[in-house]
């Protein structure tokens, strides 16, 4: 299966064309999965900085009650852009970028199955992101929130073009994301090297594989609803207008039937990263490989049937609440047991506390909190108190920041040597880690309490009720510590790229195939793919006598 060729002349052809010889054009025209992966990481880093600055603007405005730093109109644009940026322009493409870079390497393939489609997806994402930000030039960015509920996002209440930019750019990005998912599936099914059966697939690849199906199932729902919203707005249709026979709640059903799977789209690849990092730095294989893989499939299936837990306060009635409460409680189980698998992997191991491993541990701790507060929403009467309050803001950042982003940080420290050929500085890494860990909990923990005391989310200011000023100030200070941690990360990357120690092929003594080639890998990835006889090919090579299946 490993030798499905790339269309002849595809890569060579572009390289040979004299007009395309310049180094910069090479990046623009590349169809190499590694370069595309790096460009994803670079683009998402920029969007991450922008989205982070938007977050700091919000925290400045909320630092004390009655602050007038941002007008309500400006604040509403900023929070909408922050949410949209972080979800659609940072977390999802960041994970796609890592999947792009490492999936072919981990299965011993030469490239993605459809390299040109791959480049298409990336550029659609970049231009989609630019289109979203062009809305500022039109005078007004979208301001209906990242889930743009109708009728607020309809023409009657959002008269300016911000929402149109929002919908159009997400439509484009969504199409690109679906293409990438198809590409990843085709690659994983067809391009695995000899011996790389599905039962030996690295768990990161497993998660990416399952995740891709989830994308194909969920993203079209978003695209359909965006198209309907645009038709409502531009052609005066009435999909979401109750006076014309439509229903604003229809938007919520459509949006969340995408939006909940989206949460898992943003989390599953992160689980994959943790499932690679934790074993390597514990010097043990993953505990319960089959279990981790199977529970991922369970999550993917269940996640398609939980969307209305975002709608417990719409008043759909008890049958809905019971059904979606039950399914949401159920999905907590396959998600939660993974934590135990990772703990058991470390148990009895010989743990190396690298920066990567520190982030993996921080992930375990923070994501467990986020998962548990998630369970308190699935117990739907509690959602009747806590939803749409700051408690949700806290919960969702524990999942997406304390969860996904910490996992991605673990992945960056783990894979940077492979991508760049140089090591990231561990001492700067530790500084980055502690700033980020402390800053994160400082920012978001108090938000649970604010929510439980009645502070709604998405407010540009708040009344001076007892304790609110102090807690908001703590949160703002935490956010600036987070901002500082990102500066340290950027400095670490910049410094290490120039003068970090040379990594060598396999600095962590890891076991999966990407470590069997040079760092960075050559354009064709492998001169020779080592034989695959188990889940840890490089471990097997080092222990020919004890090869396990």
């Amino acid at each position: 299966m490993s030798d499905v060729p790339i269309a002849p002349g595809l890569i060579e052809g572009t390289a040979a064309h004299p007009a395309l010889q310049s180094r910069r054009l090479e990046w623009v025209t590349t169809v190499d999965h590694k370069r595309i992966g790096l460009m994803y990481l670079f683009a998402t880093l920029i969007f991450f900085v922008v989205g982070g600055l938007e977050a700091l603007l919000m925290r400045l405005q909320l630092a004390w009650p009655g602050n007038t730093f941002l007008s309500p109109d400006a604040y509403n644009q900023v929070f909408t852009m922050h949410g949209t940026t972080m979800i659609f322009l940072v977390v999802v493409p960041l994970l796609l970028g890592l999947a792009n870079y490492f999936t072919p390497l981990m299965i011993g393939a030469r490239d993605m199955a459809l390299p040109r489609l791959n480049a298409f997806s990336f550029w659609v994402f970049v231009f989609g992101g630019i289109l979203l930000y062009l809305s500022f030039l039109s005078g007004h960015a979208p301001d209906a929130g990242w889930f743009s509920y109708t009728p607020l996002s309809g023409k009657a209440f959002s008269t300016r073009s911000g929402v149109d930019y929002w919908a159009l750019s997400l439509l484009g990005i969504g199409a690109g994301t679906i293409a990438t998912a198809i590409n990843l599936i085709v690659t994983i099914v067809n391009l695995r090297t000899n011996g790389m059966t599905f039962r030996r697939l690295p768990l990161f690849v497993w998660m990416v594989f399952v995740n891709s199906f989830l994308i194909i199932a969920a993203l079209p729902a978003l695209n359909a609803s965006l198209a309907m919203l645009l038709i409502d707005r531009q052609l005066n249709a009435h999909f979401f207008n109750e006076l014309g026979g439509g229903d604003p709640v229809l938007w919520q059903h459509y949006f969340w039937s995408f939006g909940h799977p989206e949460v898992y789209i943003m989390v599953l690849p992160a689980f994959g990263i943790i499932s690679e990092v934790v074993p390597v730095f514990s010097r043990k294989p993953i505990f319960g490989y089959g279990f981790v893989a199977a529970s991922t499939v369970a999550i993917a299936l269940l996640s398609l049937g939980v969307w209305a837990h975002h709608m417990f306060v719409v008043g759909l009635g008890h049958p809905w609440d019971y059904t979606f409460g039950a399914s949401s409680l159920l999905i907590a189980v396959p998600t939660g047991v993974k934590i135990f698998n990772w703990i058991a992997t470390m148990w009895g191991g010989s743990i190396r506390l690298t920066t990567s491993m520190l982030f993996a541990l921080a992930f375990l701790f923070s994501f467990t909190i986020g998962g548990l507060t998630g369970v308190t929403f699935a117990a739907f009467p509690l959602d009747w108190q806590t939803t749409d309050s700051y408690y949700v803001v806290a919960h969702m950042h524990y999942v997406l920041f304390g969860g996904t982003l910490f996992a991605v940080m673990a992945g960056i420290y783990y894979w940077f040597p492979k991508m760049s050929g140089r090591m990231l500085s561990e001492s700067w890494g530790r500084l980055h880690f502690w700033l980020m860990f402390v800053g994160f909990h400082l920012t978001f923990f108090v938000q649970h309490i604010l929510g439980l005391d009645g502070m709604p989310r998405r407010v540009y200011t708040y009344p001076d009720r007892p304790g609110w000023a102090v807690m908001n100030m703590i949160s703002t200070i935490g956010a600036f510590v987070l901002g500082l941690s990102v500066v340290v990360l950027l400095a670490n990357i910049a410094g290490s790229l120039r003068s970090g120690p040379i990594a060598g092929d396999n600095p962590w003594n890891a076991w999966t195939l990407e470590w069997a080639t040079t760092s960075p890998p050559p354009e064709h990835n492998f001169d020779l793919v080592p034989p695959v006889r188990g889940r840890r090919p490089l471990w097997d090579l080092a222990h020919p006598e004890r090869s396990q299946v």
Partner: protein
Amino acid sequence: MHLSVFDPASPEAAWLLWLWKASMWICVFIMAVVTVALAYILARFRRRDGGEPDQRTGNKRLEIAWTAVPLVLVAVLFALSIVTARAVDRPVRRAPDIVATGHQWWWEFRYPSANIVTANEMHIPVGREILLEVDTADVIHDFWAPRLTRKIDAVPGRQNFIWLRADHADAYFGACAEYCGTQHAWMLFRVVAQDADSYASWLAQQFAPAEEPVTTEAKQGRMLFVQLTCANCHNISGINSQQQFAPDLTHVASRQMLAGERLQNTPANLKDWLRDPNAIKPGSYMPDLKLSETDLSQMTAFLETLQ
């Protein structure tokens, strides 16, 4: 400090707190297991040199056990949720006592049987079970008085109902919880729970038509109210009866706060509000009517008579 959700003042909110406590025990238990395990691992299994650790790949029994236990826990939580849901959301078989309607960015409270309407300040009698209908005049809003009951959305084309019963007299904080545009932040309200007597006199006072002003300044203000466009949006019984585009002002002076809790209801604040509503609540649908200082004094004097 008493956090609203932890300080219930009604049977409904007490039920929700009960469920909260039950689920917190479960969460704290799991979190403790994870934290202790992580701490133990960090203390016990740090890098050892000399040979690789045991390469164990799994243990079916253990894995089944740690799947089964959470399954049981969530099943318990589900059962408790149903019990709570049924206690809080009781069937609706009668007309509502109060109809709350969300507007961008204030709340209208209508008492159908008493035939009165007010804004941003809902009065209820202590100890009586109240059925509240929640509607909207424009976008989706959400009625949330955390110490009194669950929150519920106000959705175009739908009628939603919730129950509440205040245990003791107090003024309870409330907020619009669903993002509804520019001034979502100042769409706050209060629920004033009163004993039966003061509630009855409040009802009587609100039912009475607006008093005729006596001072000349206030009389001038009343004329201004009619001449200027105020009456296009606001209703004052005895003067006009418009659609409820804006808060009913018949008894505006009896209210504690103005503009969705943005301001204390004092003559000075009222005057500031009339001078330039958008300076105080940017984006609000009350326009700046460019009143002169004398107009402002007269208008304020008039509005202050509307007890």
